[in-house]
C-alpha cells in the first residue's frame, strides 16, 4: 500500500490535518475554477441561433378573411388582409399547443371565412395560430363567389433536407428542428400539426414545403422514422396559392450524408 509514514490522515468530524489543508483547498478551488471555466466556455460557444422563426406577438392579433382549403392539413388563402397579411398569401393553420384545427376547418372547405390569431413566421413560411372556437375561425356571413386557387403542378422532384413539424419550425420552439427535438416534433405531428419539409436547395424560390402522403393524405407512417434526420426523398410538388405542397413518396426516403 502506498501508506507512507507521513501521509496525513483525514477524519471527517475532526480538524483537517495541517498537511492536508493546502491540498484540499487547492483541489476545491480547482474544482470551482473548472466549473466556472466550463460554464463560461460551453455557454459562450453553444449554438444560440435557432434560425429566425418566432411567434409575432408584437404584431398583435391578426384578423383576415380568406378561403379555407383542406388538404390533409388546412391551408388558408387570404383574400382580404391587412398590412401584414396580404391578399394572395397562403397560411398554414394551427390551434394552440400541439393541436391542429382540421376539425374546425373541415366544415368550411371552399368557403369564405374569417380567421383570427397570432402569426408565427420564419422567412417566407407563415402560420396562423387560431384563437379558440368560433372566435378563431368563423364562416363569413356574406359568401361571395370566391374559390380555392387552382393548384399549379410543378412536376416531380428529388429533394434533400429534413421533415419537421410546421409549428415548432415556424418559431414555436427555438430551435425547433434537429434530432434533439425529434420527440417534440413527433408529438406535434401526432396532434395534426402540418409537417414541413425544409429543403437545402430552394424549390422555385422556397425552401419550405408542406408535406403530404403520396395520395395527398396525412404524413405516411414510414416518414416518422426519419423526422429530424437529414434525408433525400422524391415526390410531386405543386403550388397551392403561394405555398408549395410536396406529395412525398415514402419508398424513396434515404438517409443523406
Amino acid at each position: 500500500m502506498n501508506d507512507r509514514e507521513d501521509t496525513p490522515f483525514f477524519i471527517g468530524y475532526l480538524q483537517v490535518p495541517q498537511k492536508l489543508r493546502k491540498l484540499l483547498l487547492v483541489t476545491a478551488l480547482a474544482l470551482v475554477g473548472f466549473l466556472l471555466g466550463a460554464g463560461l466556455l460551453i455557454g459562450r460557444t453553444q449554438d444560440t441561433d435557432p434560425g429566425g422563426g418566432a411567434f409575432r406577438f408584437d404584431y398583435g392579433q391578426q384578423t383576415v378573411s380568406g378561403v379555407v382549403e383542406n388538404l390533409a392539413y388546412p391551408l388558408f388563402h387570404v383574400t382580404e388582409g391587412n398590412d401584414r397579411l396580404k391578399p394572395g398569401q397562403t397560411l398554414m393553420l394551427t390551434g394552440s399547443g400541439k393541436d391542429g384545427v382540421s376539425n374546425r376547418t373541415l366544415p368550411m372547405v371552399g368557403k369564405l371565412a374569417t380567421a383570427k390569431g397570432i402569426v408565427l413566421e420564419r422567412g417566407s413560411l407563415e402560420m396562423l395560430q387560431l384563437a379558440g372556437g368560433k372566435r378563431g375561425l368563423s364562416e363569413a356571413e356574406k359568401q361571395s363567389s370566391v374559390s380555392v386557387p387552382k393548384p399549379e403542378d410543378l412536376g416531380r422532384w428529388k429533394l434533400t433536407g429534413e421533415i419537421c413539424d410546421g409549428k415548432c419550425l415556424s418559431g414555436a420552439m427555438r430551435p425547433g428542428r434537429g434530432l434533439a427535438h425529434k420527440a417534440c416534433a413527433n408529438l406535434c405531428l401526432f396532434g395534426d400539426i402540418p409537417p414541413v419539409f425544409v429543403s437545402t436547395k430552394p424549390v422555385k424560390g422556397s425552401e419550405f414545403l408542406m408535406v403530404l402522403g403520396p395520395d395527398g393524405g396525412a404524413l405516411p407512417k414510414e416518414a416518422y422514422d426519419f423526422i429530424g434526420q437529414y434525408i433525400t426523398l422524391e415526390g410531386a410538388v405543386a403550388r397551392h396559392g403561394d405555398m408549395l405542397v410536396f406529395k412525398m413518396d415514402p419508398e424513396t426516403i434515404e438517409l443523406a450524408s
Binding site: 483525514f10 466549473l35 466550463a38 460554464g39 455557454g43 400541439k98 427555438r174 434533439a180 427535438h181 422514422d225
Partner: protein, 355 residues
C-alpha cells in the same frame, strides 16, 4: 455513527464541502446562462429560455457526475484524496437535484402543450428504437435519472443499516450503469445537433478521464494490492512479519474465502479484525488507531481493535479473528469470530527505533 438518525449530521468540514459545491454549481450555471455575447449586448437570446436552461442544467449534471466518479479511483491512487470521499453523498444528492431540474425543463417544454399526458408522451413520442440517429435518447436520460434518484434517497445511513452494507454497496454500483446511460444520452441527443465543438470535445475528454482513472486504479490495486495470505499447517494463514506492522497501523491480508483481515499493532500487541467497516465496507486496515480506537479512513467510524465493537453509545460490530505469532511471523485463523467477539491481543517485541 448511529445512535439515532438525524437528517444530516453536520460538521464544519461538511459545511465547507457543500459550500464549495454550491459555489461551483452556481458559478457554472450563472456563467453558462448569462455570460453570452447576445445576452451581454442586451439582445434577448433568440433561443428559448427553457431550452437554454435545460442545456445548462444537463451539462452541469454530466460534469458533476464525472467528477463524483473520479473521486473513488483518485483516492485509491493517492490516499490523500480520501478526504473527498467524505460527504461525497451530498455531492451525489446535489447532482440528482440538478439532473431533475434538467428533466423538468425538458418535460415541461418539449413534452408539454399536447393533448397527451406529458409523462406518457415521454414514453411514446419517439419509438425508433431500431436506429442510432433518431434513437429515443431520452430513455437513457430517464434511466440515469431514476438511478440517481434511487441512490439519493437511499444515501442516508438509515438505508445503509436497513439494507445492510453489502447490499447497499451493490445497489450503489448503479452509479456505473447510470453514467454509461448519461454518456449514451448525450452522445445520441445533444451531440447529434451540436454545431460548436467545445462541448463535444469536453464531453469526450471527461468521459475518457473517468474511464482512464478507473483503469489506472485497477492496475494500481493489482500491483500494490493486499498480499494473499499464505496457507501453512493446521489451517493457519501467514499474513506478514510482526515487525512489518507499525504502531497504530495495520497490514491487510487476503484470505482464501475472499475476505480481508486487518492486523493492527496497538501498544506492541497485535489484534486482527475484519477489514470491512460496518458502515460502508470502508478499508479499516488503511485507517489508523486514533485515541486507542481503529478509525475508518472513509467516514471515521471507530472500533475497539480487541473486540471489533464501536465504543458506547454506538453499536456497530465487526468480526474479529484469532491470531498467533510464531518465529516473529503473524498467522491468522481464516474462520472469523462472531462480530464483536473479544480476542486477547498477542504481545510482540517492540519495533526498533520506535519508543
Amino acid at each position: 455513527m448511529s445512535v439515532k438518525y438525524v437528517p444530516v449530521q453536520w460538521n464544519r468540514n461538511k459545511w465547507m464541502y457543500d459550500g464549495f459545491l454550491l459555489v461551483g454549481v452556481g458559478l457554472f450555471l450563472g456563467f453558462f446562462l448569462h455570460i453570452r455575447p447576445d445576452f451581454l449586448s442586451g439582445n434577448d437570446p433568440r433561443i428559448n429560455a427553457q431550452i437554454l436552461n435545460a442545456r445548462a442544467f444537463g451539462v452541469c449534471a454530466f460534469l458533476m457526475l464525472s467528477i463524483i466518479l473520479s473521486i473513488g479511483p483518485l483516492a485509491r491512487l493517492d490516499p490523500r484524496f480520501s478526504a473527498l470521499l467524505y460527504n461525497r453523498r451530498h455531492f451525489g444528492v446535489m447532482t440528482a437535484a440538478v439532473a431533475l431540474t434538467h428533466f423538468g425543463f425538458i418535460l415541461n417544454w418539449y413534452f408539454a402543450f399536447s393533448k397527451s399526458n406529458k409523462y406518457e408522451a415521454l414514453l411514446f413520442a419517439n419509438t425508433n428504437y431500431g436506429q442510432i440517429a433518431g434513437f429515443p435518447f431520452e430513455m437513457f436520460g430517464l434511466f440515469a435519472l431514476i438511478c440517481l434518484l434511487i441512490l439519493s434517497t437511499t444515501s442516508h445511513d438509515f438505508w445503509l443499516k436497513f439494507l445492510t452494507a453489502p447490499v447497499w454497496k451493490r445497489l450503489h454500483y448503479l452509479i456505473y450503469p447510470a453514467y454509461a446511460a448519461v454518456v449514451a444520452h448525450v452522445a445520441l441527443g445533444m451531440l447529434q445537433d451540436a454545431s460548436g465543438n467545445v462541448f463535444p470535445a469536453l464531453f469526450v475528454v471527461a468521459a475518457l478521464i473517468v474511464a482512464g482513472l478507473h483503469v489506472a486504479a485497477f492496475v494500481h490495486d493489482r500491483r500494490h494490492g493486499d498480499p494473499v495470505a499464505e496457507p501453512v499447517a493446521e489451517g493457519w494463514f501467514r499474513i506478514c512479519k510482526a515487525s512489518d506492522i507499525r504502531e497504530g497501523r495495520a497490514r491487510i491480508g487476503l484470505l482464501p474465502n475472499g475476505e480481508r483481515v486487518a492486523v493492527f499493532r496497538q501498544d506492541d500487541k497485535l489484534s486482527a479484525i475484519s477489514n470491512a467497516c460496518a458502515h460502508q465496507n470502508g478499508p479499516l486496515g488503511e485507517g489508523r488507531i486514533v485515541d486507542c480506537l481503529v478509525t475508518c479512513p472513509w467516514h471515521g467510524f471507530n472500533y475497539d481493535v480487541r473486540s471489533g465493537r464501536s465504543p458506547a453509545p454506538f453499536t456497530e460490530k465487526i468480526p474479529t479473528y484469532n491470531l498467533k505469532v510464531h518465529d516473529a511471523e503473524v498467522y491468522v485463523d481464516p474462520n472469523a469470530n462472531e462480530p464483536g467477539t473479544y480476542v486477547e491481543p498477542v504481545e510482540v517485541p517492540p519495533l526498533e527505533g520506535e519508543a
